[in-house]
């Protein structure tokens, strides 16, 4: 192993990245875009649910009930309709996602304790939103029941639910830390997947393998520049997340850098392995997307909670390295855990990286076929 040769490759590779608009865009523009898309545009938070109200009772009690819904901040009344059938139009057209229907006898039944009823209809075509809306609605209904039953009655059981780590349940607080994993997967695997394939396609690989350069020197030299780009992206994403999107970073920056480095080592090795095996840029790029970007996006728990997945996908997620990384990122950002909490996961990722790196070294042969 000679430092001189590694240095030569690192320099060459860095110059090439700096001169290649595609690599620059993928390395620096794409993370920025993802951050803005997920930070601003996409939100899983459910608030201001458009609501249509059909109040046939028109009493102080029914108005009080509706007021509780609007006061919660989760429901926004878009229309009061006079006929029950008109609700259909609003839900069908998507002008409202929730309907509240209060029958004429609501107040009279409530005061006489004869079982007052009202109805909530939720648009279930987006099941995620529907579930959350139902949860809010039941909570408000619960409070309403207590009120009508009389303030004096103390509850038999008093539940005080409290949310830890992300008390306001803001979706960007858990999406942005996980986004770092997706950005790493793209920068790591996608960019490096092109490097060896490009040399084969341009004919420069033939020159390289005729030289005394050793395989590990070549691989390390090619990985280092992308490792640096990856770390810059991590710090950049974390910085933007904390300062622009106000995501809390409760853990230490060092823990973040250490864990990210371990994950980067793995995806970079994966990218270079794909590049070695594919030998063409188009194929390498496609394989890299399927092998790293998609799992990181879909199966890592970054956006879609793993416990909600079908059993088969849950099992599959165990072999997705990004799953462990996303878990650790959320630990560091939201819980502020020290590294000792996820030492096992970190070791697992390091093992994954080492395995792929070794495989890349075995698979890159200094001969043609």
């Amino acid at each position: 192993m000679r430092f001189q040769r590694i240095k030569a490759i690192v320099r060459k590779e860095s110059i090439q990245v700096a001169r290649d608009p595609f690599s620059l865009a993928m390395g620096f523009l794409m993370p920025l875009m993802l951050l803005f898309i997920f930070g601003y545009a996409i939100s899983l938070d459910v608030d201001e649910l458009t609501t249509v109200v059909n109040d046939l009772d028109k009493t102080s009690a029914s108005r009080e009930l509706v007021k509780q819904f609007t006061a919660s901040g989760y429901f926004k009344i878009v229309k009061q309709v006079d006929r029950y059938q008109d609700i259909d139009y609003y839900l069908d057209s998507g002008r409202a996602r929730v309907a509240i229907a209060i029958p004429v006898d609501f107040l009279s039944k409530a005061v006489t304790h004869k079982g007052a009823r009202f109805q909530i209809i939720v648009d279930g075509s987006d099941s995620n939103t529907a579930t959350i809306a139902l949860g809010y609605a039941s909570g408000i209904a619960e409070q309403a029941i207590r009120r009508f039953a009389g303030v004096s009655v103390a509850p038999v059981i008093d539940v005080r639910a409290r949310v830890w780590y992300n008390p306001e349940l803001k979706s960007k607080n858990f999406i942005i830390p996980g986004l770092v994993a997706v950005i790493m997967a793209v920068v790591g695997a996608l960019l490096t997947s092109l490097t060896i394939a490009r040399e084969w396609e341009r004919g420069t690989m033939e020159q390289l393998i005729s030289s005394p350069v050793k395989v590990p020197e070549l691989i390390i030299g090619k990985l280092l520049p992308y490792f640096v780009i990856g770390l810059i992206d991590v710090l950049f994403s974390a910085g933007l997340g904390v300062f622009l999107f106000e995501v809390p970073l409760k853990g230490s920056l060092i823990a973040l850098v250490v864990v990210s480095s371990i994950f980067l080592f793995g995806v970079l090795s994966l990218g270079i392995l794909v590049s070695i095996l594919a030998k063409s840029q188009v194929l390498a790029c496609q394989v890299a997307i399927i092998a790293s970007y998609l799992p990181a996006f879909l199966l890592s728990g970054f956006m879609f909670a793993i416990p909600n997945m079908p059993k088969a996908l849950q099992i599959l997620s165990y072999v997705v390295p990004a799953r462990y990384f996303v878990g650790m990122l959320k630990d560091i950002f939201l819980k502020g855990n020290s590294i000792s909490f996820f030492l096992f996961d970190a070791a697992l990722l390091l093992g994954f990286g080492t395995l792929l790196f070794a495989l890349a070294n075995v698979k890159l042969k200094k001969v043609m076929e």
């Binding site: 040769r5 030569a8 490759i9 005729s210 030289s211 005394p212 200094k366 001969v367 043609m368």
Partner: protein
């Protein structure tokens, strides 16, 4: 026995690609300091052979040494001692001249003390001193080729393998290139060069002609001409050369196209000349000249291939 003191010595070298035999059991010996020309048409097995000698391609059969090291077991030792210029232009087009030189200096492990001197030498040899900061992409063919050669010999290898180094380069650059190869050979470097330009073959100390994976002739250029050309060559200047070729071939006369001219290989020029002229004229061709010429290597080659 393989003689490891020779620059190149291989026996019965063979390489298959699936069912296709690219190199079909060839023997080669190249002495130190020699310019050895490896000739043949495209697809004859030149590149496959040179790649096997450089340790880039494993032979299917046969054995041998390059620079004293076994081509199958010690390819990495060979790679430390050779310069290889592949047929495809192999520098980084998105790097500048200077950056390319620096990269290969690092890859070949040129020592710190020698780096500057070697770089200056390459820049001067390639005539690129003024253009050291130009992107390699922007260079003309002749400059690119000299830069590629320079980068491949930064580490001063004792043996140089050049695969069609002058293809796609203008005639003046080709001549300059060959004078460079000459001066290196004089300083003791062994040069193994493939080409399909027959005129370049005349510059070589020794030649081997490869056709369909087999060596069809080997020797000094002068000996080759003498040995295989006991017959005469007539150069014919005629209109519609391709039609004339067909007519003569039908008449059983070995004929080949050379540019706009035809070369006919005949037993005795004095007799055949008038006969060819008669055949062509009776078919309505305008014969401008028929002349007996000294056979070139190209004639030798065409003759050998037709015989094989």
């Amino acid at each position: 026995m393989i003689d490891a003191s020779e620059a190149v010595h291989v026996e019965n070298l063979r390489r298959n690609f699936g069912a296709f035999t690219a190199v079909d059991g060839i023997d080669l010996r190249v002495s130190k300091g020699e310019i050895f020309g490896f000739l043949g048409p495209n697809g004859a097995g030149k590149s496959t052979t040179i790649r096997m000698l450089c340790g880039l391609l494993m032979p299917t059969g046969g054995k041998g040494t390059v620079a004293g090291f076994d081509i199958v077991r010690q390819p990495e030792e060979i790679k430390k001692r050779i310069g290889y210029m592949s047929q495809k232009f192999s520098l980084y087009e998105d790097l500048t001249v200077s950056q390319n030189i620096d990269f290969f200096t690092g890859i070949y492990g040129v020592s710190k003390e020698k780096r500057k001197a070697r770089k200056d030498w390459v820049l001067e040899m390639a005539g690129l001193d003024e253009k050291r900061d130009a992107l390699t992409r922007s260079l003309a063919g002749g400059f690119k080729q000299r830069l590629a050669l320079g980068c491949d010999i930064l580490h001063e290898p004792p043996i140089l393998f050049l695969d069609e180094p002058t293809s796609g380069v203008d005639p003046l650059s080709r001549r300059n290139f060959w004078s460079l190869i000459y001066s290196m050979s004089r300083s003791g470097v062994t040069v193994f060069v493939t080409t399909h330009y027959m005129d370049e073959a005349e510059y070589c100390d020794r030649l081997a002609l490869i056709y369909k994976g087999k060596i069809v002739a080997e020797g000094r250029p002068a000996d080759l001409k003498e040995r295989s050309m006991s017959r005469d060559v007539l150069e014919i200047e005629v209109d519609r050369a391709l039609d004339a070729l067909e007519l003569l071939a039908d008449a059983g006369i070995e004929t080949a196209v050379f540019g706009t001219l035809l070369h006919a290989t005949v037993d005795r020029g004095e007799e055949a000349g008038p006969r060819i002229e008669a055949i062509l004229k009776s078919a309505g061709f305008t014969v401008r000249a028929i002349e007996k010429i000294a056979p070139s290597l190209e004639d030798v080659f065409v003759n050998l291939i037709e015989a094989s």
